[in-house]
């Protein structure tokens, strides 16, 4: 049997992947198409890619793309993706989930992934609401929005992830809106090609539960940073705290060594961990020392 090539290769043929659980008109479909285009244009094959997702509507992505996938637990995609990457740095590893998944339940992991800097791409489907659990506020929900569980209107400050990531000196920070197809494909390609941790916050409307941040709203309240130097951290930070309109594009790039490059395991030997055999002679050496003294 010959497996298909190109874009077609990423279209799953499995029986279970036909029953797509996303609502008609949802922004998740757009993100799926953007991701498939990015992977195809980078010349990748499904077996070289691993998509690790958390829980939520966004996190169902591994079922609708033909690539290695692991649909894990709420908030846990990043540590799992980190484990995958360090086990096999040859894989293109993508951690994917919603804003609740990545910023609320998984918030601590995101912070520490920035410190650790594994070579993974983190795609956050930011619909500013909880989709799967039916419309509660998320860490990026705008102030004043009323929801079934915040009937008085959200009064907490929304999470400014872009500013946070730049403050922590993250390796690659970008934001896009899935309504802009070509631009989004280019940003995600850059993110995947970037050596260290790449964070891409992707605005996408939730047509079922977020009646404020619609397709039209995102178009009206965003703009592209055409004259921005992503290597200038101060400039990046200034852009990051702009609120209306919200800037889109690559905010910040900070080239630095990755987790996989720095761990002692890969210092002398580049063979992926999973291919290695136990070093019995090293154990013998230790036992000899324990025998001597």
């Amino acid at each position: 049997m010959n497996l298909p090539k190109g874009r077609e290769a990423f279209e799953p043929k499995r029986p279970g992947s036909k029953d797509v659980a996303w609502c008609p008109g949802c922004g998740n479909f757009g993100i799926r198409n953007i991701l498939i285009s990015a992977l195809t244009e980078l010349g990748l094959r499904p077996s070289q890619v691993a998509i690790i997702s958390g829980i939520g509507q966004a996190a169902k992505m591994p079922h609708y793309i033909n690539a290695n996938g692991y649909h894990t637990l709420h908030g846990r995609a990043i540590p799992i993706a980190t484990g995958v990457k360090v086990a096999n740095p040859e894989l293109t590893v993508i951690a994917e989930g919603g804003d609740g998944d990545m910023y609320a339940e998984g918030g601590n992991h995101l912070l520490h992934a920035i410190r650790r800097n594994p070579g993974i791409t983190v795609l956050i489907h930011d619909n500013q609401i909880y989709g799967l659990t039916k419309g509660q506020a998320s860490p990026t929900t705008m102030k004043g929005m009323k929801t079934p569980t915040q009937p008085w209107g959200v009064f907490e400050e929304p999470f400014n992830v872009i500013a946070l990531a730049i403050a922590l000196d993250a390796s690659f920070v970008a934001r896009t809106f899935m309504g802009y197809f070509r631009e989004s494909v280019e940003i995600i390609k850059k993110a995947i090609e970037h050596k260290g941790l790449a964070i891409v916050d992707i605005f996408h409307p939730c047509v079922s539960f977020n009646k404020v941040n619609t397709y039209a709203w995102y178009r009206e309240h965003t703009y592209w940073m055409d004259d921005h130097d992503p290597y200038d951290r101060e400039a990046a930070f200034k852009r990051a705290i702009e609120t209306d309109p919200l800037p889109l594009g690559v905010f910040y790039i900070n080239e630095k060594p990755t987790f996989e490059e720095l761990v002692p395991a890969y210092k002398r030997d580049k063979t992926p961990l999973w291919k290695r055999e136990p070093k019995v002679e090293e154990i013998k050496k230790i036992l000899d020392i324990k025998r001597r003294l």
Partner: protein
């Protein structure tokens, strides 16, 4: 004059930060190198400075591997040590040290040999040498080899410069000569036969054995978040990470630690986490993921008393129920509990083959007592350890959760083979995609929780019976109490008493039931409810006739078990 023969226990006591650990290291290593069998175990307080910590070192002509309560020679490095161990002191206890470290009220109860440790240390140049002098005295009393002490000091302090090494050697010599003098003057008499064999044996701790076993079993990834008493394994692995070419990562929390390890296994690596009760509690969410996704994982769980923070540096066999029941929903797991240092090595290695083969969590249950125990052992047979890999290539049409007769689906990994591998923590079909199909849910539940469990049970090894098959009394013990119970039975000297020791705790092979038929069963456990006895009741409908339980955070001693057995049997 007090005379000691063949087997004695030397206890050192002092404050945290006073350097008793150095004395312990000098003594265990050089006495072993001098041809004695040694055993050491420590108890310590959860603090960095002050308090009172003690170390017991047994020195014997026979192999010794168990904690005893009695103290033959006691060296206190501060006041307060004698009251702390008062129930372990008897009229034959010899206390060697400075007068100011021995409370008045003990002077009549013990044999006190006063030695001017501080003065001797100052003569060498600083108070700092007091420990080395004390170690020298003990080595002298045993007529141990001074050259071994010197070699150890060179290795230990070599990085601190020649002067430090030289001064320490001088201090050790002074102590050694004083030890010999005490012998000659008849202040104390020690007769322990040397065994040439012990000289070249391996001196290893439980924590080191777990780490080395894991390395022999092919572990190439270890993630953890520090927690006593499990951290020793991570420390050892980190220090050898580069030589072994493995990743050792300190995660932001236990949740991250285990999830990283799950990711590593998914990608084909043999990964382990090392933790203790509280950390394991945080890992239970991921344990369920491992259960549903059939993601292998090896967890070293070093028990300490709970609930919550409990007694952070002490010991208990109190987390068996946690290991048995952690996680939501039904899924199989394997629980191992090494009885001694050798088993800690072999079972830690084996855990990886089991996780790989059955694709379930494998939990290695040790405890503070075992990880902090040292003794000399003849050999670790490395060729006995076989790394059995169970990874298949993802050929076109690959199905991660293929329904099979024995409940085990061939596991492929990303990037090996042309097709893709989809794993899932949601209920899934054979390909790994989400399903809510009732019939498929039933089949998947049965595959994991019944068929796979049955396969594991069938292949589970039986417990070890030490003693006659027709013994009337069966002492049931598990994990680290092995040698303590064994030595107590030996001292009891009755051949109608046998030990049934479990180091494979769950799932139990149904055939293990035969060991209990027609016997009087005495369960020995270091917890308040008899967690393993309860497991036997649940699995086999077997009721222990007597339960010998201890739960003060201290290990059982040989004397305590002996006393309890006498109470039950006679």
């Amino acid at each position: 004059m007090v005379e000691f023969q063949e087997d004695l226990s030397v206890v050192l006591g002092g404050a945290a930060g006073q350097g008793i650990q150095t004395v312990e290291e000098i003594l265990t290593r050089t006495l072993k190198f001098s041809g004695y069998n040694v055993y050491a175990n420590k108890e310590y307080m959860s603090r960095v400075r002050g308090g009172i910590n003690t170390t017991e070192i047994r020195v014997s002509s026979k192999r010794v591997r168990a904690f005893v309560k009695k103290i033959d020679i006691l060296i206190p490095f501060k006041r307060g040590v004698l009251p702390w161990v008062k129930d372990r002191i008897s009229e034959s206890t010899v206390v060697i040290g400075e007068k100011e470290n021995v409370e008045e009220e003990f002077l009549e109860k013990i044999h006190f040999i006063e030695v001017p440790l501080t003065k001797m240390a100052l003569d060498v140049g600083s108070q700092l040498y007091l420990n080395t002098i004390a170690a020298g005295i003990v080595v002298g009393i045993f007529r141990g080899e001074l050259s071994a002490v010197e070699e150890y000091l060179k290795e230990r302090f070599g990085s601190k410069g020649k002067n430090v090494v030289q001064k320490n050697i001088e201090a050790a010599k002074k102590g050694y000569e004083l030890g010999l003098k005490l012998l000659k003057e008849g202040a104390v008499k020690v007769e322990v036969q040397r065994k040439e064999k012990a000289r070249n044996e391996i001196l290893l701790s439980g924590a080191e054995a777990v780490a080395l076993g894991a390395l022999a079993g092919g572990m190439n990834f270890l993630s953890f978040y520090p927690m006593s008493p499990s951290t020793g394994v991570a420390v050892f692995a980190a220090q050898h990470a580069e030589d072994f070419g493995i990743v050792v990562e300190q995660a932001e929390d236990e949740i991250s630690a285990i999830n990283m390890a799950l990711g590593a296994w998914y990608a084909g690596v043999r990964a382990m986490v090392t933790t203790s009760g509280g950390g394991f509690a945080l890992m239970t969410e991921a344990l369920s993921l491992a259960g549903m996704a059939e993601n292998p994982i090896v967890i070293h769980l070093a028990q300490r008393p709970g609930p919550a923070t409990g007694l952070p540096t002490r010991t208990m066999q109190g987390d068996l129920n946690l290991a048995l029941h952690a996680g939501h929903g039904d899924f199989p797991r394997i629980i191992l509990a090494p009885g001694n240092i050798e088993e800690a090595f072999y079972l830690s290695a084996k855990a990886f083959n089991l996780a790989d083969r059955y694709q379930v969590p494998v939990i290695i249950l040790t405890d503070q007592y075992l990880v902090d125990t040292y003794y000399n052992l003849p050999e670790l047979e490395l060729d006995k350890v076989k790394v059995e890999k169970h990874i298949v290539e993802a050929k076109p049409g690959y199905r991660r959760y293929e329904l099979t007769g024995d409940g085990i689906s061939p596991r492929a990994i990303p990037g090996y083979g042309e097709d893709v591998v989809v794993a899932n923590g949601n209920e899934h079909d054979e390909w790994g995609d989400i399903t809510e199909d009732a019939e498929l849910t039933v089949r998947m539940q049965e595959k994991r929780a019944i068929r796979k469990l049955k396969t594991i049970k069938k292949n589970a090894p039986l417990p070890r019976l030490i003693g006659g098959e027709d013994a009337k009394y069966i002492i049931v013990a598990w994990g680290s109490t092995l040698h303590i119970v064994e030595e107590a039975i030996e001292k009891l000297g009755r051949d109608d008493v046998a030990l049934l020791h479990f180091s494979w705790l769950y799932p139990l092979n149904p055939e293990a039931k035969k060991f209990f038929e027609g016997k009087t069963i005495i369960a020995v456990e270091l917890n308040i409810t008899g967690q393993f006895a309860e497991l036997l009741r649940r699995e086999f409908g077997i009721e222990a006739h007597h339960r010998v339980l201890k739960y003060d955070g201290r290990p059982f001693s040989v004397e305590e078990i002996l006393g309890a057995l006498k109470g039950v049997i006679e």
